[in-house]
Amino acid sequence: MATSLPLPGQAHRVRPVTPASALARRMLTLLIVHGVLIAGAMFILLPFVWMVVTSIKSPPEIFAVDFSLWPKHFNGVENYGNALSKVPLLRFALNGVIVCGVILVVQVLVAVPCAYALAKLRFPGRTTMFALVLLGLCIPIQVPALPLYMGLARLGLLNTYFAIMMPFFLSVFAIFLFRQFFRSYPDEIIHAARLDGMSEFEIVWRIVVPSAWPAIAAFSVFSLVAHWNDLYWPLIVISDTHLATPPLGMMFFADAESGSNYGALTAAATVLTAPLVIAFLIARRRFIQGITMTGIK
């Protein structure tokens, strides 16, 4: 690894630093940094603010010309009540948890060894496998949907949790992501472990994985979010509402023909988004723990 750092005394011009100018510089930097972050945050939050505000407004106030943030007629109880009672929203959330949880576990179990192999091991077919992984990344779920549907129908597996989860057991995204991380893992440590008599299997799970913890935590959140919000595939294989995932719940309040009950819709959306935010917060904490564990390399 060759990074070139200027040695002390070389062409690097050192400016005299006074406490006052250092403080001024720090203040200015902080100002700019937070300025940018806050401006971005406003752009990001604008739709959410409107969504939550709509979920507590009464219908006539939602599309009023005199747009105000606080509703004149607080309708939150009714909207959220509607959202939770008219539709088995909590059941959908439970299905979401089951489906996303199992998918994630299988994805990680399949992806980690494969990524390690692609990153660190020389084996026949390695380049082909990587190209196939890339190919997989390009394929949206709409492509294999019809053949998979017919296959599952033949096997009598439609309308089951398995049917919803199966196409996602393989996450080429995870393989690609973990491969990138494993690639930068120092080879010397792996050699040392081999000399110590560790099997490749142990090396993967005991040594390399803990260092990729931030990546695994990041991936977990993506996987959970993507499959929680997935509408397209569950709609094809599920005909029993008891197995439906969260987005179907929201569709009950919105459609192109009779329009939307905007209050209940945004209430349902808020309720169903909350678990994802919580999952993110939990993952973040493990993320940071993971870093403190491995930061001293």
Partner: protein, 308 residues
């Protein structure tokens, strides 16, 4: 060669060859489950698709006819399809640099914060968790030419109001902005993961060596070591951008006048609204070839540059 026999023979081989053999076996074994799933979920359906693309299959039809390469010839000459290719490329060209650049910027800015970091991380990640069904209405209202606050702001600044979703010239940039809104938090998390994998002692060593200032540190240490992550973010962002579908399907339905008809939406129309499954299969293959070439190119070019 059974595993036992392999081990037996390997025990008599010199250590380096034995190591190579173990590597090979482990590699194949580790990659096998993924490979099997790939076959089942992607390769076989692709083969089915390939077969369909040579026919005029319509969903529910009892008989189909073999058409050879007619569907492909039709696709390459189809002005609607060609328009969708252009639209998609424009969309990707806008989304890619901004989603990657802004994601990186936010991650770098956040990496140094301690107290405010979790607040900003959650805020920037929120769009990733949003469901389009609910968000679509929100965006339509926010972007409304006379009712929406965004145009309200434009009017106070003295600018003429813009029909973001209804002016052919503005619709793709608007959808791109929404796409970026959705992706920035995603890329930010990836970059943060990459940044946190850079050992802190490197920074300390650099500082001792006279490396001062944020930008200097960034260029000397952060950027090179972020290489693999950056490559990953670029490739996945461009693939995600190519696959844009949901926002078009829900908000503009390809309009106005086809100016937001992107590749996947055009394919969806052919297959699921006009029911020309055979033709849609051919279009899908053309789409896949495009995206695959693009990403293989990116990967192998960038891979060489970041490998150290």
């Amino acid at each position: 060669m059974t595993a036992a026999a392999a081990v037996a023979t390997s025990a008599t081989l010199p250590p380096r060859n034995r190591q190579q053999l173990i590597e090979r076996l482990a590699g194949c074994g580790f990659a096998f489950p993924a490979f099997a799933l790939l076959l089942l979920i992607d390769i076989i359906p692709l083969a089915v698709l390939l077969y369909l693309s040579f026919t005029d299959y319509q969903l529910g039809a009892l008989d189909t006819h073999f058409l050879g390469l007619d569907n492909f010839a039709k696709a390459l000459a189809d002005p609607v399809f060609r328009r969708s290719i252009t639209n998609t490329f424009v969309y990707v060209a806008i989304v890619l640099p901004l989603a990657v650049g802004l994601g990186l910027l936010i991650a770098v800015l956040l990496h140094g914060r301690k107290r405010t970091r979790s607040f900003y991380e959650v805020v920037y990640f929120l769009p990733v968790t949003s469901t389009l069904i609910a968000m679509a209405t929100v965006w339509q209202f926010l972007l409304h030419p006379s009712l929406g606050p965004i145009n309200g702001m434009l009017r106070t600044v003295g600018v003429h109001e813009i029909a973001f979703l209804s002016e052919p010239a503005y619709v793709l940039p608007t959808l791109a902005a929404i796409g970026i809104w959705h992706l920035v938090g995603f890329n930010m998390v990836l970059f943060l993961a990459g940044l946190s994998a850079i050992p802190r002692d490197l920074y300390e060593a650099a500082e001792i060596d006279g490396c001062r200032g944020g930008i200097d540190r960034f260029l000397t240490i952060t950027w090179p070591l972020l290489g693999p992550t950056t490559m990953f973010v670029i490739v996945t962002t461009s693939i995600t951008a190519f696959k844009v579908f949901d926002t078009v399907a829900v908000m503009t339905r390809g309009g106005p006048m086809g100016s937001s008809e992107v590749l996947l939406y055009a394919i969806y129309l052919e297959g699921y609204q006009y029911f020309h499954m055979g033709y849609a299969a051919a279009l899908t293959l053309v789409f896949l070839v495009f995206v695959l070439l693009f990403s293989i190119l990116q990967t192998f070019v960038l891979d060489r540059r970041v490998h150290y």
